[in-house]
Structure formats: C-alpha cells, structure tokens
Symmetry: C5
Subunit: 350 residues, 5 copies
C-alpha cells in the first residue's frame, strides 16, 4: 500500500528574529540566477543582475534559496520589501498576492514530482516597473514553455509588457496542475472500477491516500484562485485592461481545477460507502454458507448420536428396517430444510 504523503511544515524564522530577517534553510537548494532581457526587437540571456535599459523588460529567474546574501542584494537593488523577501525564503507560505508600494508580490505553489507522493513547491513572483523576478525552491521546468514563447521571434509576447509576462508565469503555474489532476483522475477511475467489480482487491487505505493527495492539491489551488481574482480586480494598477482579460481566463482554469477536485473528493467519499457495503455483503455470504451447512447437519448428527447410545433397551435398533428408516428420515429432514432455505433465498442468489 502506498504510504500516505508526509505533511509539509511551514518554515519559520527562529523565535526572536525580527520580521524581515533572511535565514537560510539548511536543506535549501543551491542558488542559480538566469536573466532574460527582451523588448519588441529581441531577446538576450545571461546571468547578470544589472537592471534593464528603459524600454526593455528583465525577467530574473532564481532557483534555490541557499544564498541568502545574494537574495538580500537583489532585494536591495530592486527595492523589494523585506517582509516579502522573508516570505520568499521561509517557504511553505500560503499562496497570496500582496501589493507593496514598489512592486506586486505573488506567492504561488507548483506541483512537484516526488517518489514519496505529491508535494508542492513555492514560487515567488515580484512584478515591478520593467522587471519580473521569479524565485523557485528548486530548478524546475514549469516555466520552460514561457521561455520558448519569448525566444520565438514571431510570438506576440515580446511586444507586451512585464504584466503580460507575469500573467504567462501565473498561467503556467496553474496549468501545471492539470496533468497532475488528470493522473489522479485516472487513479480514481481505476479504483472506482475495482470497487464496483472486484471490491476485495481494494484497500480502504488506497482511497485514503488518494483523498489526502486531493486535499493537498486543493489547499494549494484554493488560495491561488483568490490570488488571480485579486490581480484581476480593478484596484491593482499594475495590470493593463488587456492583460486582465487573460487573467480572467486564468481564473477560469483555477475554478475548473477546484470543481474537479471537489467532484473527485465526493466520488472518493462515495467509494468508501460501496466498499463498506461490499465487505458487509461478503460477510453475509460467508455466514449464509456456515448457517446452511450447520443447520442441516447439526440435527442429523443429533439423530445418529441417538442411535449410537448404548441403552440395553432400544427397540428401534433391532427392527429390521430401523437403519434404512432412520437414513430415510434424515434424508427427508435435509430436503425439507433445503427447500426452506431456497424459499428464503439463501441458495444460489448472487
């Protein structure tokens, strides 16, 4: 049986640390930086931290959180708020969108493939004037499609602003849940077929693990829907009206994910009922066989016992047809009981 996934702990600064202090997690991955600079004319990629020329847009992607000094330096140079920076380092934040004076701060969670079940990984996004900074816990390939679109000279993406890039990244993070959820859906379909057609092969623990994984995705996706809704609302001035149309599309996807999860959960809950019912059915079937055999043979065994008694004076024993008569009577009793059971429906049903 699959082991249920471990709970993810929220990482916190040690007690007494003032808010805004960056403390590296000893398990954090090595920090690597990739910068992409682009405008309508072209794209260049390097690993410099220098800001962009006006009219160009910088996308700074940081993988791994070990080097807090570097993060601090980037924070100072781009005017990132200390509270936001702290949330970047202390992973296992709840997805959220917070507006600071100098930039929009977005925390998302992406599904992370792992051999011990499903985990989610934090992605932090800063959207400022002319720059987008993304920070991932580990190097991942979820943003690769966005890079491909940027490198494509015919694509529309280079012509749009930093807000559109930010939308494309949020969209990529949300879309990453579809294959994960579809895999769970297939697992659920298999489980459902097995429960309906071969209930003994199902373990209640398997349903439990599936529900746990659905809960884990849901707890990541639910706040992400609110994040996209916040970004799309009128007050935030960082997103153009046109990009807002795209964010609306993105929110549709999040809602669809949540509804699918909800449906899967209800189905999984229904499976528990079927399983309990089929276990109970099986117990009844076993009990019927026992009752059948015992009810027929126990009286007969009593009768043969009677004629095994050693009383001096048992006239039946000396009758000529005593033996066949007793055997006949016992046969009759068996037939009558069998007919009675048949009428009660205990023979051959199911």
């Amino acid at each position: 049986m699959t082991k249920p996934p471990r709970y993810q702990r929220r990482r916190r600064s040690p007690p007494g640390t003032p808010p805004g202090t960056l403390t590296a997690d000893p398990d954090a991955g090595e920090t690597r930086v990739r910068a992409i600079r682009f405008n309508a004319e072209g794209v260049s990629e390097d690993d410099s931290l220098a800001p962009c020329a006006p009219g160009s847009i910088l996308w700074l992607n940081i993988d791994g959180l070990a080097d807090t000094d570097l993060l601090q330096k980037i924070g100072t140079s781009f005017g990132l708020h200390p509270l936001a920076l702290e949330d970047v380092v202390n992973v296992h934040q709840r997805p959220k969108a917070e507006e600071y004076e100098a930039h929009q701060f977005i925390v998302l969670r992406m599904p992370e493939p792992g051999q011990d079940g499903l985990h989610t990984e934090q992605v932090s996004i800063f959207l400022g004037d002319g720059f987008v900074i993304t920070v991932q816990e580990h190097a991942g390939d979820v943003f690769d499609p966005v890079r491909t679109r940027l490198r494509n000279p015919l694509g529309q993406m280079r012509k749009r602003g930093a807000d559109y890039l930010c939308y494309a990244l949020v969209d990529a993070a949300i879309d990453a849940y579809f294959p994960v959820l579809e895999a769970l859906g297939e697992k659920l379909e298999q489980l459902e077929d097995t429960v309906v057609f071969d209930p003994d092969a199902v373990d209640m623990g398997d349903i439990h693990v599936l529900k746990r994984e659905l809960m884990s995705i849901r707890s990541a996706i639910l706040p992400m829907r609110d994040v996209v809704a916040t970004l799309q609302r009128e007050e935030t001035q960082r997103f153009s009206d046109n990009t807002r149309l795209y964010l609306r599309d993105c929110q549709d996807h999040a809602v669809q994910l949540i509804e699918t999860i909800q449906t899967y959960r209800e189905i999984a809950t229904g499976l528990v009922d079927i399983l309990l019912s089929s276990q109970s059915n099986r117990a009844n079937e076993v009990m019927q066989v026992l009752t059948l055999i015992a009810t027929i043979f126990i009286p007969l065994t009593f009768i043969v016992g009677v004629y095994g008694m050693n009383f001096d004076d048992m006239p039946e024993l000396h009758w000529r047809y005593g033996y066949p008569a007793v055997m006949g009577i016992m046969g009759l009793i068996a037939v009558v009981l069998a007919i009675w059971f048949y009428r009660k429906g205990w023979l051959g049903r199911r």
Copy 2:
C-alpha cells in the same frame, strides 16, 4: 451493473502555445455551417458566411470543430476575440459569460445522449450587433424548436432582435436538461422502491452511478445559472429590458433544476443508509436461525454422546426406562429453549 461514466477531460492547447492559437482536436467532428437570415418580413436559409444587411439578423450555426481555418476566418470577419475563439475549440470549458468589446461570449453545456452514460457537450454563443453565432461540438437537434419558431410566419420571434434569439437559444439549452433529469428521477424512484421493498436486489454500485450522473449534470448546470444571472444584470447593455424579463424566467428554470438535483442527491444518500441497514438486518436474521438450531441441538448432542460412552459401569444404560427417560428429558430441554427464544422474540418476528 452499469459502468460508471468516464470523466471528461478538459482539452488544452499544447504547452508553449500562446493563448489565442486554435489547434484542432484530432477527434473533432466535421465542420458544417448553416446561416439563417431574418427580419420582421421573412426568413432565408443558406450556408454563406456573408454578414447581414442592416435591419436583418444573422444566425450562423456551426457544427463540428475540425476546420479551424474556417473558424479563424469567421472569427476575423465578425471580430471575435482570439481568447474566446480558443475556448470554442478547446472544449470542456466551464459554462461562462464573458463580455468583450465587440460581442458577448457565452459558453454553455448541453446534455448529450450516449450509450456509455451521460455526457455534456459544449455550445459556444457569440452575440454581436446584428448577429448570433453558435458553435456546437457535434450536430445536435437541441436548437430545432428555435428554428421552427423562426420559420413560423405568425410567430413573434422574427420581430425581435438578436438578443431575444440569444435568449431563446440559452433557454433551449437549459430546457434540454429537464427530460434528462426526469429520466434520472424515474431511475431513482425505481431504485427507491426496490431498496424499500426488496433490498437484496439493489447494488450499492447502482446508487453510486446515479449519484455520479447527478454530479455530472450539476457541474454543468451550476455555472449556467450564474451565466444567466450575469446576462440578466443591469450592466450588460446587449439585452433589452424586455428580453431581461425572459432571462429571469430562464434563470428560474436553472434554479429549479439545481434544487431538483440537490433533492435527488439527498434522497440517494438516504438510500445508502437504508441499504446498509437492510443488509445488517439480513445478517441478523441468518445469524438467528443458526443460533436457534445450534443452541437447541448442541446440548442434546452432548447428552446422546454421554450415553454412547463405553464405560463398564453406567447404571442408566441398564435401567428399564433409561432410553425413554433420556429422550423425554431431551424433549423437555428443547421445549424450554424454544419458549425462551420465543420470549426473546427470535421466533417468527418479521
């Protein structure tokens, strides 16, 4: 037992495709176009894509999504937004109503008859100035009543605008759920009667499949109620006050569908309890029979065993009335036990 229906997957563009790109589903049906042009004077039908003369209204109905080039062409010629067009092609969208500058975009889902259970099919509707465009996954007959009303020279429909046609189409899509739900209601009634009067003939899996189908309809209808509510609200300027009265009626129908589904679900859930209880009752009944037989005969069998022992010195065996005395005592024991069971209510109840 019915196999539970398969989950419907959302179709998505391949990763890295920019939003607004149309990619045909390899399974998509062949594209066919039917145009109906009408005004208060008359109706003409053809398959031309040309826009309408002013004062007339064009209803363009497209079945099948294979020909994305044609869709793209229609999109350009009527000014349809690329994001909306993409949602038309990538079916399994959630029902929604989105307002674009040039047109209102509506996604609905219609019930689709299928031999492997209940599915829903996407219908996309564009309502612009003087035109309504509907796109269905497959050719269906859900809009036939609307066509009949348009062809009727005495009907009021030709005299109304495109917004009223749009209402009539939405209303037809929602009304298509009533027969489907009534069929489920009849199934549920049968199931209910069987559960109450002949519980052994019921399979928990049948209740599960029914609940699954109710969940499937509900997930289509719930957002459609919100769609109609959105259209009916004051902000949307595409619908006249008079058409809004009709939309209110349409929303009533959606609410009624949802409440019926909710009621059916609660009933189905209640059936599970009855079924489990009746299974448990049956097990008790079987157990009582076993206990009755065993409890009466096991002590008697012991007694006859005693007098089957081969001890040299068992005086009872040589008494003249030993045999009838033992038989009498055993008869007495049986009667006493039977009376005890009767008093406990284990004989003949139910």
Copy 3:
C-alpha cells in the same frame, strides 16, 4: 410500510412553443370563478369578471386550470403579462415574486392533503391597482378564513387596500403548513420513542419516508421565505408601510417553519444512527448466546466422544469410578467456563 411519495414533475409547454403560450394540462381541474367586491361599506359576491368601480377592491378567485381561453381573456382584460400567465398554467413552478409594470406576480405552494402522501399545490396571485386575482390548481379551503374575515362587518379588513388582502392570502398559504408540520412532528416523536424503546419495531424505510416529506415541504417553504422578504423590501411600491409590518410577521412564520423542518431533519438523521447501533447490539446479543452454548458444549461433546471410542485398551473405561469421574470433570469444565463468561460480562448484562 408507507410508499415514498412520488416526485412532482414540472409541467412545461411542448418544445417549440413560444414563451407566453397557454397550453392546458389534460389533467387540469374544471375552471370556476368567484368574484368578491368590497369597500369599507360592504361586500358583494358574484361570478362576473367585470372590473371594479373605483374605490372598491375586486378579489377574483379562480379554481382549476382547464379553461385556458377564459384565463387568456382575464389576462387581457386585467393586463396580466403573458409570461406570468404561462407560469400560472404550467404548474409546479418554484415559489417566486416577480414585479411587472402593471402588477405584482406571486407564485406560492400550499400543502395539499392526499391519500398517497404529501403534495403541494401551486397558488398564483396577481396584485394590481384595485384588484387581487388568485388562481389555484384545485378548489381548496385555505382561503376560507380570509373570506370569513371579509364578510365580517366589524372586521378591519374591508377598510384596508388590495395590498392588505394580498398579505392576508400569503399569510393564509404559509399558515397552512403549520398543521402539516405538526402532524409530521408527532409522527417523528412516535418514531423517536419507538427507536429508543423498541428498535426492532422500526423500519429504516419509515424514517426515509419522513425525511422525504420534510424535504418536500422544505423545498416549497424555502423560496416562500424569499418571496415574503422580497415583498417586504422597500423597493416594491405596491405595499404600504403598515402592510409591510404585517409581512414582517409573516416572514417570521416562514423562518420558524424552516427552522422546525431543519430541526426535524437533524433528529431524523440521528435516529438512523440509533437504529443502526441497536441492530448491531441485537446481533451481538444473538452471537453471545450462540458462543456461550457452543463454547461450553463443544469441548464436553469431544470428551464424551473420546469415551465412545472402541479401542480395545482404554483403561479408564474399566475403572470403577471412571464414569462419575468423567461426568465430574465435565461439570467442572462447564462451571469454569461459566465463571469466565460471567467475568467477561457475557451473562445477564442488559
């Protein structure tokens, strides 16, 4: 066992009929009209359809929906909206309050006594300038108290306007649920006593039927609460401030009904748990008796079997005290087992 009530189907116009067309249900009752005209001075009753003199108020009560031509004629003469008229004829509408330019339209549902369980019947009310029109599916006596009050020369009712008459009718329709719900409450109390004191006499199906009836009332009452709330709100100008005070009272009654239904449902759900538990208890009791008897006698039967063996060389058989010794040992075993069972609490508890 009571048969669960049949589901009520929504009546719809045949597909392709434009909204606003009246199609009579073949099962509809014969149409009868009663007109009451009153002002502060007096009351007159006839069956004319003529409008009232100014300063007087007309209450037109129509029972039975078979004569759609007459309904159409009344609709035209009082300026009733076609959509509202269609809702009058297509019964099984959800209760609702809709304001049209010329009149307020209210749909309510009244409990209808029937031998095959509880049904609800549609009542439609039109409140216009100087007139109230009520339409019932069948002739009923729910409005009789209102008639009595109108005929009473000392009553205040004649002095008030059409809005107060409309309130009195709504109030009568809501009050009609109290005796129905009290009857259900008594049924539930009986069921509760039986479950607690004599669980074997209870059938899970009875609880199911009761829950079904509660759901049926609730689905009628819930929207009626919203109807009264809508009427009471400030925007609707058809009700005077004074009548609004009375509507507030009326809403209190609806809320009280809903809370009572909710409470009854929770109690009924709790009964299912008790019933399942008592069935399980009973099974345990039966099993204990079986185990007691079998566990005591099976070893003893083995022992007597041993001394029934026919080996040549069994010295115990020839001992002088062999027989009484074996009987004594078996008695001892029985006593020891009985003590053990007593200590485990399997004897005489409950």
Copy 4:
C-alpha cells in the same frame, strides 16, 4: 433511559382571527403585575399600572398570560402595537427584535427548569419612552439579580435610563443559559468518559437525548444573538452609545454560547463513531472466542467419532498403543492450531 424532550408547538390564533386579536391559551398561568418605579433618587414598588412621572422610569413586570383583558388594557394605555401584543400572548415565538414607532419590541426565550427535560419560556420586552414592560409566561426568578441591583442605593443602575435597564434584562436572559449549558457539558464529559472506558454501559439513546437538548438550546440562542446584534446597530435610536458598549459585551456572551453548543454537538457526534466502533470490537472479540473453541474441537470431535465407528475391520482399534497414539495426535493438532492462532494475534491481544 431519559425520555427525549417533547417538541414545543407554536401557539397560533384560531384560523380566521384577524391579526392583532388576543386569545388566551387555556393553559396560561394566572396574571400578576409588579411595578418598579425609580430614578437616581430612589425606588418604589407597587402593583399599579399608572404611568410614571417624567424623569422617572417604570418597569412593569407581568407574569402569566391568562388575563388578556388586562394585557389589552396595558397595551392601550402604553400604546403597544396590536401585532406585538398578539406575539406576547401566542407564545413559542422565535426570538426577535422589532422596532415600532412607539416602542422597541423584543422577544427572548429563557431556559425553564422542568422535570421532563429542558424547555424554554418566552419573555417579551417593550422598551418605550420612560418605561420597560416585561411579560413572562410563568413567574420566574431570572430577573431577580436586576431587581437586587435596582434596590441597591449605591448601584449605578438607577442613574441610567430605560435603555440600560432593557440591556440588563436581555443580559440576564442570556446569562441564564450558562449554568444550563455547563450542566449539559458535565453530562457530556461523563458520557465521554463512559464511552471511552466502559462503552457497554452507554446507550446510543443517551447521546441522542443530549444532542436533542443541545439543539433545543441552540434554536433559542441563535436568533437571540441576532436580536442583540440588531439592538446594537446604529440605526436603532433607543439605545445610547454607552449602552451599546454593554450590548456588545452581551453579544459576545451569545456568540460564546453558540460556539460552545457547536463544540458539544461535534463531540457528541464523535461519540457515536466511538460507540459503534466499540460495539463492533466487542462482536469481534465474541466471535474470536467462538472460532477458537470451535476450530480446535470440531476436528478433534471428528477424530474421536472415527474411532467410535463400529466397522468390523478397524485395525487401529486393536493396536496396543492405538488409544494413546490417537490421544497424542489430537494433542498435537490442538497445539499446532493454538500456535497458529497465537501468531494471528487471536490469543490474548487486548
């Protein structure tokens, strides 16, 4: 077992009675009136119905509803609204706060000690200019602490207005639920201990009765929270800003009561699961004992039966060591089975 409490019926005027008519309940208690007049200088108590001198405040307390003529007279003399007066007489109203032009009308419910379980009693409060009128179903002592505070010459209460007196009475009514709820909490704690440590001594019906009592309190307290919230809101001009601070405190108490009830209900629901589980455990234990004994002795009994057969030619019977050999083999079988059971954990666990 405690009998579950009876449902409380709403008292209604007979059908056809116009709203605002007072009809005495035949079971209503005798009417007694106590008047307290006070201002900052002093307090006087009598049973006169005369209004107060300006600058003084009158608290009229009425116990028992039998004398409707007196109530009508008081209503007329203080300008109480007929609808409110009717609600006073027709007890079993839902708690509510209604503002009339001449006075604020408040309906509350107080817990009422009774030997057949927990009931609630209606208290009606009128707050007008310079007077507070309270009407209880029966004479009770819930308002005694308020009287004590009024009689205390050093207390602040005399110096405050009628609104503060009204707050004090509402507060006393809400506070009366704390001891009731604490008694239920103690009952629940006892039940919980019994379920966990001695499940056989618990009856599912006891948990049911407790849940019923919690539901009964909740249905009284839930609307009382809304009453206090309504009084505290800005629109009502009858309460000074200072008294509103006290009402906020009072609302806190109501919320705390509701949360406690909710917690108790969840705990009680959890107890049902434990109880069902422990019943199931007990059945398993009984079954294990039966299986153990039967599985060991049934094969042995078969073997001794074999050597009890009377065939002429059974060589084992004549072997010298036949008897001890068979006894030894049977001993071996018993030991092997015992080891097998031990390994399966059926011996001595729990």
Copy 5:
C-alpha cells in the same frame, strides 16, 4: 488511553454583580508586574506603575490575576474601560478586538502546556497613547522573544511606536500555536501509519482525543483571525500604515493555522472510516476460518456418527472394505469442499 481534555468553563461574575465589577477568581495566580520603558535611545526595566515620559513607550506586563485592587488602580490610572477590565479578570473570554475611546482592547488566547492535555490561556492587551499593557493568567515565556528584540540595541523595534509593539505581541501569541500544531501533526501522522499498517493497535478513542484537541485549538484561533483582520482594517486609527503591512503578514499566519487544522480534522475523520473498515475486515477473516473448519468437518462428523450407530443390521459395517471406503469418501468430500472454497477465494487471499 489518553483521557480527553476537560472543557474550559467561562468564568463569570456572581449573578447580581453590576457589569464592570472586578471579582478575583480564588484560583487566580499571584499578581506580578514588570514595566519596560523604551525609546529609540534606550530601554529601562523596573516594576513601577508610573506613566512614561512623552516620547517614550511603556510596556506594562502583568502576570496573575489575584490582586484585583492593583488591577483596578492600574485601570484608573491609565483610563481603562471598566467593561474591558472585567473581561481581563473573568478569563475564558472569546478572543476579540474592541475599540474604546481611550484605548484599543484585545483579548487573545495562547496555548498553555499542561500535563492533562492542551489548554489555552487568556492574554489581554491594552494599546493606548504611548503605552501597551498586557495581562496574562500565569507567568509565561511567550513574550520573551519580544523582550529580547527590545533589549537588542541594534534592533529596529525601539524606533517604532506602541502599535508595532502591540503587533509584535499579537504575532508572538499566534506563532505560539505553530509548534503545538506541529506536535499534533506528528501524532496524527503516527496514528495514520498505525491505522494503515497495524489497525488493531489503534483505539478509536485516540482519534477522538486528537480531534478534541484540534477543536480546542480551532476555537481559540478562529476568532483570533478575525481580531487581526479587525485591527488591520482602515477604520482603526491606532495602527500606522506600515504596521498594517505587518498585521497582514500576521493574518496570513492565522489563516494558515486554520487551514492546517481543517486539513488535520478531515484526515482524522477519514481515519475513522479506515478503522471501521479494517475492524470489519478482521471480523470477516475470523468468520471465514470458522466457516471453513465447520463446513468441512460438520458433514464428516455426521458420517462417522452414522457408522457409530448400533443398529443390528448395518451391512456396510461388515464389508471388508467398509472402513477404508468410508474414510476415502470423507477424504473426497473434504477435497471437494476445499476446492470450492478456493474458487470462492476464501483460502489464502490477503
């Protein structure tokens, strides 16, 4: 098994006490006062109650509630509202934030380690002009990190106002729940592993106690989230915009706690299903063994009984191959039954 935690009772003033009177709980801890005065330049600590010089901020921390006279004196000297002071003394208040004219009043609950399970302790905070007063039930170390930060000459905290100190204290109180919840999470993980891999070692009562502890934390945390939301809202003028950013962070933590509790509760509820299912499985397994043995041996025992009968005329007994023939037939029957059981899957599955 762990004993379920005792319910915490709300402490109330004796009936008849006017609101705002301080009555010491006989069990209250000894009162101790610690004052910290600080400004950007430095920090001083003493136990004087004197107010601060302008430009400095006073943090008065009071542990233990026995000395109500002292509390009254502090209340008078700092202008604390009598109702708020009463809430300080009558512990077991629900967390809340109330604004009074002279100060903001906050009630929180902190987890309190105890050997008889988890309890929460009340912390009251007053935030006024230039002072923060905190009152705890017992001396605790939850605020120590804040003290450490104040004493640190390099920290930013001294430079900020009383509102930031207040935020830091609220944040410390909320953060104190993380380790408590993580400990519960570990308990739950262990329980989960045991349920899935060794269900017999689990007691339903353990799950119950865990759920009880989660409910206890939740009832403290849920209102604390609302408290922080209230403080963060625009209306309250006591918190600067900058401090509000920090409060937003603090609210995130509360939401995360609540979601984690919710997830844990759902998991615990799922465990109950698995446990019941595995108990049922185990019962089935036991029943199968019994049925197997009984079904095979009961017919065989009947057969040997037949040939143990003492009829004079039983020809089989005198046949030469009678004995081996009967033994062979019985062997055949056993094999046929075993094959039948194998086909039914009762042998060796699981």
